[in-house]
Amino acid sequence: MTRKIVISPVTRLEGHGKIDIFVSEEGEVLNAAFQPVELRMFEKFTEGRCAEEMPRITPRICGVCPTAHHMASTKCLDDLFKAEPPEAAKLIRELLYHTFMTEDHLLHFYILAGPDFVVGPDANKLERNVVGLLKVVGKETVAKVVDVRGKCRELMERIGGKVVHPVCGLPGGVSKPLTSEDIEFAKQIAEECVDFSKWTLQLFKEKLLPKYKDVVLNNNLKINTYYMGLVSNGNSLELYDGMLRVVNPDGEEHAKFNPRNYLDYIAERVEPWSYVKMPYLKNVGWRGVVDGKDSGIYRVAPLARCNAADKISTKEAQEEYKEMYETIGEKPIHHTLAFHWARLVEILYSAERMQEIANNSAILSEKIRNENLKIPEEGVGCVEAPRGTLIHHYVTDEDGILTKVNLIVATQHNLAAINLSVKNAAKTFINTPEPDDGTLNMVEMLFRAYDPCLACASHNLSIRDIVNFRVVKT
């Protein structure tokens, strides 16, 4: 008899999901699946809305990365109304974006994933959380995390109005200029962020990596996929703008394209067992949930971005980037748990970018709106969210009322790979038909490496099979 183990809900991630594991009587794992179980319908109910309101609607796809949706949406409006933002507006947006990236990555490392490494993967489940973390590391460290994150969010509020669900983005600009006090505040926070991200990297490399090296570098947990991320000139890692670059499992460039042309490169697959569609590389093709060069499955988010780039443009992050590849000894890195390391390298990059931008005096200009808007028709906006590439695509009538909306969001790209990783982890860690809580948490650790956001992934309406699926009347 096959036994089915259900982990529901999966915890310490954003959104709703469950894991099913099928185990034989001998304790051999036969199969496993990771399913987001929630479903909304942003692509449908945004039809009929005013396009310029999208930066205030789409952040509700995800309250953890609302700034990413706000920005993809705002950039989509630039394209839709054919209005380049003035330099100051672009800098203000980028300052907001890198501040967001810094605090969001920090949140994941310390609050969501950290307890596994610091409290221990098989600690009591009532302790394996931020409260347990507090007991082990003491209030001082946690207070530092809360303080840095809090200051970042204060700056985000000054720029974006609200921190959860910012409102400042307009086609061709932003709604409010910054003052010199804002910039002084930004400079001070940027410096603290640089210091704290270096401290966090040191913590990871000196304390956590040696302790968990065998797990991080376990070959059973490795999957060989393609990787995608935005790059700027010279294939530097980029988060706000640029071209999308894809490398194959050997690290060779597979494609490099303007995000406007995403439909030529990416397609989405519908599977009966998943509410969330799974994107794959169109010209490689869908071969099922398998890895390798012949499978169109690719990964996004920090490790994928590092893999898809050749370098990082800021000095200290570039050194950390080099060290990561030298230590692990391969590029691309296929070890899933190395996502944590790449995430920390990205924090340092974003913190350094905050410094660069805050020191650019052009940011203080009062000219923050391009008022020469053209008749809207169609636009695409793309940014790198903390959890991966975000594509917003809007079509409107000439009044700017949305007629068609398509969204491909961060975690969605990773869903097929997360399923592979969870299956590998179940096969690696489980050897009894009745695994204990600690063992099952080790399986959850593998999806946590992706920092998946199921709120994002389940943005689309997910629908029952017309024949078989029950719609329940209330």
Binding site: E53, P66, T141, A267, S462
Partner: protein, 349 residues
């Protein structure tokens, strides 16, 4: 600081002291339904005061941060939880079952944030049928390649074996109070940290306002808005502007300048965050105490201010002015469509 991470074991006496303190704490649970996680972030934004709160409460269930599962909740005694905070509207069977379970285990249930309170932005999906959405998402979106017209199904076989299930959808997103009885409401998308702290204070003091809405003001946003001074006594608007069409000076009333702003019908207490960066209110703090249907009341406001300066009623002029308002449903009911009289009527049919 690094040493602290792998620090010393606690003394036994210290541990016993902790156990004793634990038992006196307020027992809570947090759950999210059809929401975005922004309410969770708002709780973290309470920042250092969070530590004081954590000293006073025990969190027995909170999927975003704590590893207990549904089975752990089922095992709790009925009414063991002093307060359960639920954010998000209810849109599928799993959420419906979980909130019913939590209701059974709770002394008090708090609808937390706009979605639990009124349905929120995901509630705009009630404007369309599920079938319309099906067509769009799984068949006609330009990136979807689905020649076999495959669809997710309640039960299915995984490639490689094993049957898995997905929770069926409800035909509409529902405010929490339409699924279980709700004791208190905390408004906002998301509620501000200040609102959350105020709500907790009110809850602990027992000095509950009559309408059971915690942490927000009972006067409209306009009462707290600095721009309100510039609002003429007799407001008259001849044409409306969308946010990208006109930049409004930072001291001018947005509505008086023709930009749709829901301030007059929305509760204050939100810190006027949107207004502070020159963007109009969209009503996330919910309706004033005497208003049942926010959108309807705002419509009546619009009717009374549009071309109000005219001595004779020139209908064609009014019609032209009203025609400059695009997407009234998605704007006036941005956060409250499932709670509107019109949607309730449609659902009853």
């Amino acid at each position: 600081m690094l040493e602290k991470l792998f620090g010393q074991k606690k003394q036994k006496a210290e541990q016993e002291q902790e156990v004793k303190q634990e038992s006196q704490k307020v027992k809570t649970a947090f759950y999210w339904a059809t929401s975005c996680g922004g309410c969770e972030e708002a709780i973290l934004d309470v920042r250092e005061k969070l530590f004081d709160v954590l000293d006073k409460i025990d969190i027995l269930f909170w999927p975003v941060a704590v590893d207990t599962k549904y089975s752990d909740v089922e095992a709790l005694e009925d009414k063991l939880l002093d307060a359960v905070f639920i954010n998000g509207g209810i849109s599928n069977i799993e959420q419906k079952e979980v909130v019913k379970l939590l209701r059974k285990k709770a002394k008090a249930v708090i609808a937390f944030g706009s979605c639990a309170h009124m349905g929120g932005i995901p509630g705009l999906r009630n404007l369309y049928s599920i079938e319309d959405g099906l067509e769009r998402v799984y068949f006609t979106t330009p990136s979807t390649y689905n020649p076999e017209r495959a669809l997710p199904s309640e039960k299915s076989e995984l490639p490689g074996g094993g049957e898995v299930t997905l929770p069926p959808l409800l035909p509409n997103v529902l405010p929490l109070e339409e699924v279980i009885s709700v004791d208190f409401y905390v408004p906002g998308c998301p509620p501000l940290p200040e609102t959350i702290l105020k709500a907790l204070e009110v809850l602990l003091s027992g000095d509950i306002p009559e309408d059971n809405v915690l942490g927000a003001e009972s006067k409209s946003l306009c009462n707290f808005c600095d721009r309100n001074q510039s609002k003429p006594e007799n407001l008259s608007v001849e044409r409306y502007y969308r946010v990208h069409e006109k930049a409004i000076p930072p001291d001018k009333c947005l509505l008086a300048e023709g930009v749709i702003c829901l301030g007059p019908v929305t509760r204050g207490g939100c810190g006027e965050k949107c207004i502070n960066v020159n963007m109009p209110c969209r009503g996330c703090y919910g309706p004033l105490p005497d208003i049942d249907d926010m959108g309807l009341r705002f419509l009546s406001n619009i009717a009374s201010i549009t071309c109000a300066g005219e001595e004779s009623t020139d209908e064609s002029k009014m019609r032209d002015a009203i025609a400059t308002i695009k997407d009234p449903v998605g704007t006036f009911y941005r956060f409250s469509y499932p709670d509107s009289s019109i949607n309730k009527l449609v659902r009853r049919r």
